[in-house]
Amino acid sequence: MNEHHHGDHDHSDLSETELRVRALETILTEKGYVEPAALDLLIETYETKVGPRNGARVVARAWSDSAYRARLLGDATPAIAELGYAGRQGEHIVALANTPELHNMVVCTLCSCYPWPVLGLPPVWYKSAPYRSKAVKDPRGVLRDFGFEIPATTKIRVWDSTAEIRYVVLPMRPEGTEGWSEERLAELVTRDSMIGTGLPKQPHEVG
């Protein structure tokens, strides 16, 4: 897919699309198929309520509470629902624990499947041709595109989300965080660390 359409270039093309979306919304509203207030609420939900902070809370809980970690790795959907996150594009969630021997990475080569309740809507790169093509063939090259490497001896398992199972990575807890509260730990958890294209922040990177 063309990644140059989402920026501020290509004005003529963009305005044509813009007009088309406006036309559709007008028609759908005139016909009574959609309610503008519902549209506003859908947008607000995914801009302000559903995003990777949710997943960060799940990870921080798993880092702090070994019984919760066991529940999360055993059956993630109800464990995540304990924190209030559930629903669309997260009906069947599986959590994948990274270890010193195994690094997990999640992709959807066929479209853009992504665990919305814990990570929000997927970033452009996740939906892009480079990631979808390269993740299953050269995941270490992908990690280099993200600016880091993992040891050559660490096994990489790439999970292609081809069904309605949604995967979220449980990264390793950074060292030097003993005694930290869940709130503080959550600050270390990045979105990319829960996809497997990044690592959690180190203690010195947060206040």
Partner: protein
């Protein structure tokens, strides 16, 4: 179907380009396109597999030249046109020209939270025992259906191992055609990188796909 959407292992796509602090949407039209797509699921009555097929079933040049939300938009327009909900002349005119078709349900603002929370679970009660068990060796069938499928090309014909059983789930190949849910056992199948990509592959790479039972045969 074999289309440009099936991207696993395709060369020449270039480096991944992460964007720091990326927002959920990059333009107002993306917000509205996202919202009308979600909201129209209710009056439209299509299922997720029909939506996916409406997006991916287009010539590669068309698919590859559209941005992500442009593909969503094109898919939505197709689904609505197929059901006479919105006609192309109305899109061109920018307003309704024909009477609204009666629809069973619409999404109100009050209903948004419940609709999102409900989601669309796909697990169903099994009606027959599973053919495979964890640890079994299986081969992804060589299939090239012209209709919707979720078996990516790069694993077809290759052998792997059942890594997990995921229960019985709605079968997209059937559901996308409006031929019923036809639930099938779903497995996570693990493939060695070398099996898929050959001797030059990263020896420490393993790939898993989620595959419904009809996609698999004993290896």
């Amino acid at each position: 179907m074999d289309g440009a959407h099936d991207m696993g292992g395709v060369p020449w796509t270039g480096p991944v380009a992460p964007e720091p602090d990326e927002p959920p949407f990059h333009a107002e039209w993306e917000r509205r396109a996202f919202a009308i797509t979600l909201a129209m699921g209710m009056p439209g009555g299509w299922n997720i597999d029909m939506s996916r097929f409406a997006r991916e079933n287009r010539p590669p040049a068309d698919y590859l030249s559209k941005s992500y939300f442009e593909i969503w938009l094109a898919g939505l327009e197709r689904l609505m046109a197929e059901r006479d909900l919105v006609a192309p002349d109305e899109v061109a005119a920018g307003h309704a020209l024909h009477p609204a078709k009666p629809v069973a349900r619409t999404l109100s603002a009050e209903g948004v939270a419940a609709m999102l929370h409900r989601g669309g679970p796909t697990e169903r009660t099994p009606t027959s025992p599973a053919r495979f068990a964890v640890g079994d060796r299986v081969r992804a069938r060589m299939i090239n259906p012209p209709t919707h499928t979720r078996l990516p090309r790069y694993v077809r014909g290759h052998a792997g191992t059942i890594a997990a059983m995921r229960g019985c789930h709605v079968f997209p190949d059937s559901n996308a055609r409006g031929a019923g849910e036809d639930p099938q056992w779903l497995y996570t199948v693990a493939f060695d990188g070398v099996e898929i990509w050959g001797a030059d592959s990263d020896p420490a790479l393993e790939i898993t796909v989620d595959a419904w039972e009809p996609y698999l045969e004993p290896a």
